[in-house]
């Protein structure tokens, strides 16, 4: 597969991510920020996001399994997750977090657990997508091509 084909594939893929609502404009800004000084910026941030999110999700699962659920703590965790996901442009995770926080305010444990599942699901989805995307990019770079510059396709 030559670099051009892969580039087209990459563009199609990222387009589909936008269309399906996994990512939003913030991700484009991230891409914009990547330059010669920080060639691995997107990958770095994304992996930071993964680490952070997994930690938070673990904390959340733990917190919600406790007998008396500390909703303040849960809310703080969700808030953090929301912040980081919105910073990376993972829109669907962010939206799930917003719903999650509403239930935290209501102190509804069942709904929170349901939301946690949803957030986890969304997170897994976006993680897979992003990993695929990064793999594609790495392939492009390996094939000698450059990551296409921003295509404002949404």
């Amino acid at each position: 597969m030559d670099a051009g084909q892969m580039k087209r594939q990459w563009v199609d893929y990222i387009k589909s991510l936008f269309v399906e609502g996994f990512l939003d404009g913030q991700f484009l800004q991230l891409q914009q920020l990547q330059d010669e000084n920080n060639p691995e910026f997107v990958v770095e941030v994304v992996s930071l996001f993964f680490e952070d999110s997994e930690r938070l999700l673990k904390d959340l699962s733990f917190a919600l399994e406790q007998k008396g659920v500390d909703f303040k703590k849960v809310d703080a965790h969700v808030h953090q997750l929301k912040g980081s996901s919105s910073s990376i442009g993972a829109q669907r995770v962010k939206n799930a977090c917003i719903a999650f926080r509403n239930f935290c305010e209501e102190q509804n444990t069942d709904a929170c657990l349901r939301c946690l599942q949803q957030v986890k699901q969304e997170y897994c989805l976006v993680k897979n997508k992003l990993e695929t995307l990064i793999r594609l990019e790495q392939q492009i770079v390996a094939a000698g091509g450059s990551i296409p510059t921003m295509e404002l396709s949404f």
Partner: protein
């Protein structure tokens, strides 16, 4: 009856109680549901149940009323009737008894009297006969009979009721008196004496003598005289003569006889007359009495009382009746009562016989009431008179009608009346109850309806509220993508690889996006106001400066339209006011924008004045306006001026556009309303602007309306109620120029602007001259400066005759000693299209020594002109429009320069060639006045004027955008020349004092200026310059992703970033900074290497800015900010802190600003917004 009532009450009570107990249980079952819904249901259920209960109560009341009235009626009738009947009955009984008694007594009387007469007749006869015991001769015999006749007559005449008295002797001689009671005809009947001899006295067979002849001679009823001839009659013809056969046993006998001569039965008694020896009966005396009188009495009684009476013998033969019917059958036999011809008597007798037969009660007395005989009811009473020989029975039959008739009738009538009356009452009562309860039930219905209406209204209001709240909440969600779109478009525009066509398209898209964002902002503002979420700030701000900035901004737009924009604020306007500056600016921005849209040529004037009760008169500028408004708002003013520190500021926006139809003056302020729908096509717009304006003005306690004006165009007048700062001393920036000998020549193109300025100058005691074109200018110049050489003067006088007005001014100028001339020249006066302007410039340059030139520049003047001006040393340049503040600065600069020159002249060669306008001094008047030390320092700063000016020029050209906001394009910043980073641009110098502040637009507001500023900053990016070069930023953020993203963003902009993980670290980092502030500086290179290393905090250099996340572990942003501000107290430092938060509500913003933060950014971080915010904040210090 009573038990019935009790039963009824029991029923009602149980009904009511069960209702009561049933309702709450129903409510309780609904408790889990929505409260409102339940309330509504409860209300309707209550209504329904009450409806039923009303129905039941109505029925119950009706029934009770009916029962009550029925009872009352019945009792009344009953008692009335019973007592009447009882008393009547007893009376009637008495009456009957009495009635019956009387005929019986009469009968008794008759019997008695008959017996007495008979006895006395017998005694007399005995005496007479005894005295004539020896009847020897015929003569003696005749004598005895004569005596007998006389005696008998005497008795007969004494008793009028007697029918007859007969005496029959033994020999058959008959002597009888007879009286017909009907005609009172009396006669004497006797037998022929010749046939009887004494011898035959004792002859037994009288009856056998058939040959005897009887005579009858009529008599006078009173005297007994013979009045007629004796007639011969057959024996026993007219009367019955009692004979011996009737006294067979020699005792008196009684019997009821029937005479053939009378139609009534007779009572006859017979007694024998014994001889002296009492051995033989000599004669028989018979007395008959007619029962006629009894019948008569009965008739009389019956006539009086009605009814019927009769007397019968024990066997039932009628003896007397109250009727006229004959009592005899065939004049010979007595009738039975049963066979009477009178129906009543017959029926009565029949009834009695049928009822009792022969078994009468022992007393033979019967009293029966209400016997039905025929068709009527009768009272029947009988009475028994037990005589030895003649037992009698009296019966009275009285129809009930006669006695009880009236009572019965009355009772019946009463009953009828009572029943009808009670029916009426019941009917009326029912109707009343119906009406009454109908009212109640109607009210119930209305109430139910009201409840449902209230419910509906509440829902409608709620939905409207939801709408507004939704919009208000959407603000962030809507603005963020728009900001992203615009930002990305900016990025795209900055791309070098775009073709021209693409570039044009993208620029177009950007314009459209900006327009869309503006529209969005308008709608959101409106909804914010409507939903009540708009909270006005109450901060001190410089109203004049805000308005000047606004006018500066719009003047750019106006130049394209060839419209003059003029700011005309009266001197009594307060410098500082408290209020929401952004919203005030928005009001005027909208108004001016509107005016510009509709004004193609002419001018737009923004007037402002203050209304104080005492300053009304000292403002001659708007005299006629004031009159009207004082009239209109006198009450208002009084009210407002009472509350402390409140003042009313009046503004007018006057344009010469197409105007508004007077009938639309009110409706233009409605949403989506435009005066002329066709203008939408021409000018665009949504019609929201004025609506927002009105909402805001009303919110600030003011009013706005369109006012009639002379000439074309629109005049909008509004007032705002703003409060003055509490502690502010009334400092008007008013310099008195009258004693400085200033002469100002205004050579300005725009008529209105020049007029306004010159008016103001003249008010302040400055002599002004005016010129509107190049020729006028040159003429006045020559006039001014060559007036002292008469030749020149005369020559020009011929060509350009001066106006008288000017002449008088020249005269007053000449009186001035050492006048200072200021010539304000509009650059438009020069002919810029060709190269003539250079010659014109040279011409003016000749007067440079004698007058100060102030150049009024346009924004679009190219650099060659400016360079040329600078080359020639004209450093006083002002951007259009020229308004009061700028004028003051210019004049102050001129006065100062003049003073310096005078000083130099006096001292002779002072080193300080101070052409520099003391801007810190100027600024002090308009800024917060916080930098006193700076001001103090400025007095010795003026070291090398030329060098300084060079710098000024450079910075001026490099910061294009400043033109929009600058006051005077001269030295904008005074720099400390001993600063080590002198060569860096002014942004990099933390101590540099930037006089020209950016507008104090808060970052959250996407106002027109914000847009512009962003566009400018992005255009700076085009130039390839890193906007934040050298700015050092401390980033406090806990989320690693955001931390990283923000770091990269900021570094991309050229800033140096130190990231920390929480508030505590941020505070520590800053404290370390304060510690090393004294002078030690680390190298920039080293700083770059510090990224998120908390260990090296102590070595951190001072920061220009802190980006603070609000929600962090350990210590959150608010706390950290408070800490930092606390530690800054007393040091005079103020590090700008920008909040970084995921909360997008205005209350969060208020909270951020409340704890001492300077600005506010929302996550996700927008590249452009962050850049502009940081720039505005860092420059402000």
């Amino acid at each position: 009856m009573a038990t019935k009532c009790i039963h009824l009450f029991d029923k009602l009570w149980s009904f009511a109680t069960c209702k009561k107990t049933r309702l709450p249980t129903g409510r309780r079952s609904n408790l889990h549901r929505d409260v409102e819904k339940e309330e509504f249901q409860y209300a309707s259920a209550q209504c329904l149940s009450s409806y039923y209960s009303v129905f039941v109560v109505r029925l119950a009341i009706m029934v009770m009323l009916a029962i009550l009235i029925g009872l009352l009626t019945f009792l009344t009738w009953h008692f009335t009737k019973i007592y009447t009947t009882k008393s009547l009955n007893s009376l009637a009984y008495d009456l009957r008894y009495e009635l019956l008694q009387r005929p019986i007594l009469r009968m008794w009387n008759i019997l008695n009297s008959t017996a007495e007469i008979t006895a006395s007749q017998v005694k007399l006869s005995e005496y007479v006969i005894r005295s004539h015991s020896n009847l020897a001769t015929q003569a003696e015999q005749v004598e005895m009979y004569g005596a007998m006749k006389a005696v008998t007559w005497a008795l007969f005449s004494s008793r009028k009721a007697l029918d007859s008295i007969t005496v029959k002797y033994r020999n058959g001689f008959v002597q009888a008196f007879h009286r017909n009671l009907k005609d009172n005809h009396t006669c004497y009947i006797y037998s022929d004496l010749a046939n009887y001899s004494m011898a035959s006295w004792n002859d037994k067979d009288i009856h056998g003598k058939n040959s005897s002849i009887w005579y009858r001679e009529p008599l006078d009823p009173v005297t007994g005289e013979k009045i007629g001839k004796a007639m011969k009659i057959a024996p026993e013809d007219s009367i019955n003569i009692a004979g011996l056969s009737q006294v067979p046993d020699g005792v008196a006998s009684w019997h009821v006889a029937v005479s053939k001569f009378t139609d009534s039965p007779l009572l006859s008694a017979a007694l024998p007359v014994w001889d002296s020896s009492n051995k033989s009966i000599v004669a028989v005396v018979g007395v008959t009495t007619a029962l006629y009188s009894v019948g008569q009495l009965m008739k009389e009684l019956v006539d009086l009382h009605g009814g019927h009476m009769y007397l019968t013998s024990q066997e039932g033969y009628l003896l007397a009746t109250s009727t006229h019917d004959p009592l005899l059958t065939n004049s010979t036999k007595l009738k039975m009562a049963v066979g009477s011809e009178n129906e009543a008597i017959r029926h009565g007798a029949q009834w009695l016989q049928k009822t009792y037969g022969n078994h009468f009660p022992p007393s033979h007395e019967v009293h029966v009431e209400n016997v039905k005989l025929g068709h009527q009811q009768y009272y029947i009473d009988s009475f028994f008179l037990n005589l030895k020989r003649l037992p009698l029975v009296g019966v009275i039959i009285i129809p009930r009608k006669h006695i009880m008739g009236e009572a019965d009738e009355r009772a019946f009538k009463t009953l009828v009346i009572l029943i009808s009356a009670s029916v009426c009452i019941i009917v009326i009562g029912c109707v009343c109850i119906l009406i009454l309860t109908n009212g109640v039930s109607k009210e119930m219905k209305l109430r139910a309806e009201l409840i449902s209406h209230l419910e509906a209204r509440r829902k409608a209001e709620a939905s409207s509220n939801y709408k507004s709240q939704f919009l208000a909440n959407m603000s962030h969600e809507l603005r963020t993508p728009m900001a992203a779109v615009i930002g990305l478009l900016d990025i795209l525009i900055s791309d070098d690889h775009l073709t021209n066509e693409q570039c044009a398209t993208v620029t177009q898209i950007r314009k459209c996006s900006t327009a869309l964002l503006r529209l969005l902002n308008n709608i959101l503002d409106l909804s914010k106001v409507e939903s009540g979420k708009l909270v006005l700030e109450n901060a001190e701000f410089d109203l004049g400066r805000e308005l000047e900035g606004l006018v500066d901004m719009f003047s750019v737009q106006c130049i394209n339209h060839s419209v003059e924009i003029i700011l005309d604020l009266s001197d009594d306007m307060p410098k500082l006011v408290r209020g929401d500056s952004a919203r005030v600016v928005q009001i005027f921005a909208n108004l001016i924008n509107n005016s510009i849209k509709f004004t193609l040529s002419g001018h737009i004037i923004l007037r402002g004045w203050c209304e104080n009760p005492n300053s009304c008169s000292d403002n001659p500028k708007s005299g006629y306006l004031q009159k009207t408004r004082t009239k209109q708002h006198e009450n208002h003013v009084k009210k407002i001026s009472n509350s402390d520190n409140k003042m009313i500021l009046w503004f007018e926006v006057d344009d010469t556009g197409c105007g508004i139809d007077p009938c639309k003056w009110d409706s233009v302020f409605e949403s989506f309303e435009q005066a002329d729908p066709s203008t939408t096509r021409l000018h665009g717009g949504t019609g929201l602007g004025l609506c927002i304006v009105r909402s805001l003005v009303n919110k600030m306690g003011g009013e706005i309306k369109v006012v009639k004006k002379e000439g074309p165009g629109t005049l909008m007048r509004l007032y705002l109620c703003l409060s003055a700062p509490v502690d502010a001393t009334e400092q008007h920036c008013q310099a008195d120029f009258s004693n400085n000998g200033l002469v100002v020549l205004l050579a300005l193109h725009g008529d209105r602007g020049r007029l306004t300025t010159s008016k103001w100058l003249q008010q302040n005691g400055v002599i002004t001259l005016e010129a509107s074109e190049w020729n006028g200018l040159t003429q006045i110049l020559r006039e001014l400066f060559h007036a002292r050489s008469p030749a020149y003067n005369n020559g020009f006088d011929a060509h350009y005759p001066l106006l008288e007005r000017l002449k008088s001014k020249f005269l007053s100028i000449q009186e001035l000693t050492n006048p200072a001339y200021v010539i304000a020249v509009d650059i438009e006066l020069l002919d810029l299209s060709t190269d003539i302007w250079k010659e014109q410039l040279n011409f003016l340059h000749k007067y440079r020594g004698r007058a100060k030139f102030v150049w009024v520049l346009n924004h679009d003047n190219n650099n060659t002109i400016k360079m040329e001006l600078r080359k020639k040393g004209h450093i006083l340049t002002v951007n259009k429009p020229l308004y009061k503040t700028k004028m003051i600065h210019v004049l102050e600069a001129v006065i100062k320069e003049k003073n310096v020159e005078l000083q130099r002249k006096n001292k002779g060669g002072d080193l300080h060639e101070s052409l520099e306008i003391d801007y810190t001094h100027c600024d002090l008047a308009s800024s917060d006045g916080s930098d006193i030390s700076e001001m103090g320092g400025s007095n010795f700063v003026c070291a090398s004027g030329d060098k300084q000016r060079e710098e000024v020029v450079r910075s001026y050209s490099s910061s294009q955008y400043q033109i929009n906001n600058c006051l005077v394009g001269l030295a904008h910043e005074h720099m400390e020349h001993n600063t080590p980073r002198k060569e860096g641009s002014y942004q990099s110098n933390p101590n540099s004092k930037d006089v020209t502040k950016l507008g104090t637009f808060s970052t959250g507001e996407d106002s027109e200026c914000g847009e512009m500023r962003r566009a400018n900053s992005s255009s700076r990016a085009v130039n390839g310059k890193k906007s934040l070069e050298g700015v050092r930023i401390l980033l406090a953020e806990d989320t690693p992703v955001i931390q990283r993203v923000a770091t990269i963003m900021l570094e991309k902009m050229g800033a140096t970033v130190v990231a920390v993980g929480d508030g505590q670290q941020a505070v520590d980092a800053l404290n370390g900074m304060l510690g090393v502030e004294d002078g030690r500086r680390e190298s920039l290179l080293k700083e770059r290497n510090i990224r998120s290393s908390q260990t090296e905090i102590l070595n951190c250099p001072p920061y220009d800015l802190v980006l603070m996340d609000c929600q962090m572990p350990k210590m959150d942003g608010y706390e950290a900010t408070k800490e930092i501000r606390k530690s800054e107290v007393g040091t005079g430092l103020h590090i700008p802190i920008v909040a970084l938060t995921a909360h997008a509500m205005s209350c969060d913003e208020a909270k951020c600003l409340g704890v001492g933060m300077d600005a506010y950014l929302t996550k996700p971080i927008d590249f452009k917004l962050m850049e502009s915010t940081i720039l505005s904040v860092t420059r402000r210090t």
